[in-house]
Amino acid sequence: MHIADGIVSTEAVLAADAVTVGVLYLFGRKVEVSEVPKMGFMAAALFVASLIHFPMAGTSLHLGLFGLAGIILGLRAFPAVFAALFFQALIFQHGGLLSVGLNTLNMGAGALLGFFIWKLSAVPESLRALAAGFLGIMLPAFLLTMEFQLSGYGRSVFFILSIYLIAAAAEGILTLVVVGFFRKVEPSVLG
């Protein structure tokens, strides 16, 4: 899901970087010093999660945790996703350095959607957790395919969505289990 440098047009990448700077300012302003450790910790968790691979359908998938980040951090999840992707680009070359803005828009949108779903208090908590985890992956995958299509890769890229369906389902179940555990053991972690 991480777009490398040189895959999408430079103009689109630089425009996305500019938009990301704006969104980072919007969601990162007025952050209390006491909030920063939690944001830094969640960013580290997102980074480490990408090292955990699960064997599935002859291949392996790694965790994203964008929905969970939205549940725990709310709107502050966006800067945390940026930090995690920036580190992933630098250390593992997962995604390009210049494309980090575009990747943040995609995956940060997943985290924000997770947060908005979590806030729907009329829906049962387990369903909200499941949906936040599932859509936290599917929305970035959908945005990725749209960007690829706009960059001239044609409709064939939509098969990417079908691949991510498996990852999103796994992520949804994992988020459900993790949120259930937090609710029993340390409810204060949940936003």
């Binding site: 450790p37 580190f87 680009a89 890769y153």
Partner: protein, 249 residues
Amino acid sequence: MKHSYIDKYGDLNSLLHKLDPRAKVLAFGAALVFMISEPRGEVGVFVFYYVLIAAVALLSRIPLVYILKRCLMAAPFILAAAVLLPLSRLSPNVGKTGLFTRENLCLSLSLLLKAFGAVILLTLLVSSGKFNNLLRGLRRLHMPSLLGSMFALMYRYIFLLNDEMLKLKLARESRTPGKLRISRFKVYGNQAAMIFLRSWKRAQVVYHSMLARGYHGEFPEYGRLRFVWSDGFFLAGFPAVFAVIRIWC
């Protein structure tokens, strides 16, 4: 616990390692922009870029195998894009012209060269010094203080999370050896939550210790970064050569 994937070659003694991190960040960033802005389908011009990148890689003394491994890590996504691009150009005439036309091959090759060139540049930037020093350079380039603090804390917490993850993995493998099985999803989910909570508790202890020592949102810096003539020369020269290739070749 051993975490060697960060800073593995940060201690080497090369010309690139001696440069100021600010000069490297700006120079590599500018070079990256010039290279990836090459139009799709351009192939020949990458000979010049790769000669230049190879020269810098040689100067850095970072092993070629390590750089190739980094390329391999990024390969699946890049290769998928390189295959998809010509496929998207399929037309009703494909039967006459074929998929493997010179134009389509140039498109794929250009994309591969561009993307792998970017990966190599990024590897050279990150591996030619201590990661902490790179973050320090970014802070000195007036990165917003929120990001600076978050990066610094995140850098510490990554090791902490990794430690907890390895401990729990060892404990699980000693009790139930064998491969991970999808049917035990609830167990893995609970373990992930446990790693998160245990690490979070440790992270809070670290943070409270920092507060007790006078932390107020800014990390104190020990020692000054020195920007010398060689840094200025690299900062001006390296992107300039990329710009010349981009404009005239």
